[in-house]
């Protein structure tokens, strides 16, 4: 996983899996890379092959943090199976998903 900053946006790339085994760690690492002036998070999900409910918890947690700063979490280019999980749990209502 790689985190870069562009203005008030943090860009995360290179996520492979977001599952119970790493969800808490990924959440904490990204949180640590979001000091307060940082408002928006772009998660490049094009490399993400698998997402489970713990991973969804990580996404929701990041979303709540940035919402409190009037920012957003954008999910960029999730594969069909990832998008399906988001739609199944209706979280595509919450995140901005960019194809």
């Amino acid at each position: 996983m790689n985190i870069q900053h562009q203005g008030s946006t943090a860009i995360v790339t290179g996520l492979q899996e977001l599952v119970a085994a790493n969800a808490a760690q990924v959440r904490d690492e990204i949180h640590a890379a979001l000091p307060p002036p940082c408002m928006n998070l772009d998660l490049d999900l094009s490399t993400l092959s698998f997402l489970d409910s713990s991973g969804l918890g990580t996404l929701v947690s990041l979303h709540k943090t940035l919402r409190s700063r009037n920012g957003t979490v954008r999910l960029i280019r999730p594969a069909a199976n990832i998008r399906q999980v988001l739609e199944l749990t209706r979280l595509h209502h919450v995140f901005e998903i960019t194809p």
Partner: protein, 595 residues
Amino acid sequence: MNSNATNAVRRDFRSSLRLEAPCEFSAVRSATLQVRDWLAEKGLSEAELSGWELALVEAANNAVKYVPADKRQLPVVIEISAGERDVEARITDHTAGFEWPDEIALPDVESENGRGLFLIQSLTDRVAYLRNPQQNVMILQRARTQTAGKPVPDAGRLQAQLAEAEAALNDMTAELSSSYESLVAMFRYSAELVAQTDVKDFSQRLLRDLMQIAEADGAVLRLLSADGKKLETLLVLPEHGRTVLPPVALANASPSVEIGAARNRQDIWFDAEEPLEKDDPLLAAMPMGNGICHAFFVANQLVGTATLGRLAADKPFTAAQVNLLHTFIDFLAIQIVNARLLDERTATRVTRRELEIAASIQRSLLPEKVPTCLPLELSASCRSALQVGGDFYDLIPAGDGAVLLVIADVMGKGVPAALFAAVLRSTLRSMPQLFTRPAELLEAANRTLYADLSRVDMFATAQVVYLDPRGAKMISASAGHCPLLFWQPGQAVASAIGQSGFPLGIESSAKYSQTTTVLPPGAAALLYTDGLSEMRNADDEMLGEKRLLELLAQAGAQTADTHAARHFLLGRLADYCGNAPLTDDQTLILIRNTA
């Protein structure tokens, strides 16, 4: 017949796999990947594999997550069996177990957990959870998508992959074509924008196209009002009859998804499960069964809300269609803000034109030539600030070589002040019989103008001086104006003369007094407006009357020439203010006895 007989004896040949994984997240994750590979060999489609992978991961994670410390050394067991018609999995855990809920609902969107069981249930046809003091078994079962009748596994797998590819291709085509459509639309809009800037027309066409491409039945577009307190309706589509959607206040307490979306800066979806409240103002537009409300912002400022709806509750918008909504509306938001900026720029242009008019009125009030009044000589100038004010001066021949000097400052700026200056000038000029009695002239002018001035809350200060060359006399009166300054050779500092009364337009029966002063040879007098005494230097320090008195004495001592003395004064004033901008008009008349 034959086929019936075949069916009757046909058996579902099942194969199975049993895996034991240490009770850790990473170990059970590896096990589920092995199961996935095994199921792929059995010819399951990509979609089926993804579904099973996720269901098994969720079930196995539960087994790890809730295991008590003393059972952690026991493995999690995953058994899977695949037949032609279905796949069944059993996951054995050693947790305390739980009561399988009758109904599994999604948690609140803000919740960070509690979606596992929902996923398991959604991804399978049947779930059973068998509790036992030693261990619990979760049984998951799901029918296979039909590859039956193709017993050769490789052929089935190929067929499934083909169907998969075809579906993916269809999805991509649909997405590409909607992207293409929106791209074409954007280009068209951009071209149109060059030609016209009517926001409503433009928004209407954009919203119609969006509805068509996103397959919506209705749309509502609202914009934040100028005072920022409510959302006003710009468009309701389709237009039917006279549906008027009243504005909704942002502080509104009654339910409105538009207000909710605007306040929380978040899209709000509504459908059969979470329908619009019956009081939601949107329902007056159309009976929307499901839809999405998107609040849009430019530079972090709310611009408005856009809602797309469908009549049917069971046909939700897809992620791709929501993307279209975002793309179109965010583009529209920028155009709306641009159009507003353009309006503001036009307004600024109008203001500038108004200032030009005011300046030309002011210039037209100044006398074209300076009358002679020898041995008294006059030199005058009026320098306008950027914002044109109401300063003017007048030099009126008053018969027998006498001259009436007027210097005035109408409070206010721009065209109204300039117009009033013109009125004041005409009023004074219309009473030549009073020129020799400046105090009475001011009283008469005040009576004439009082009603008009006070009605518009304006007033003017004026200094009137009757200049009589015989005896080199000045008879002066002041209506709230800066004092007349007087200097004669030998004085180190000039002095202020006379008393001042109310400005014109303050008190209807104001009385004024007049002072007669003789100007000996070489003496000078100065009439000026407060733009001169109140000018500020770079340190924001005001010039003040005292310094002006010193400057007048210096100018008088410096040169006997009237114009040269005025230029000397102006030069010193310019030195004083340095680079500070001129904030008020600067008008002055210098009188000199050249005898």
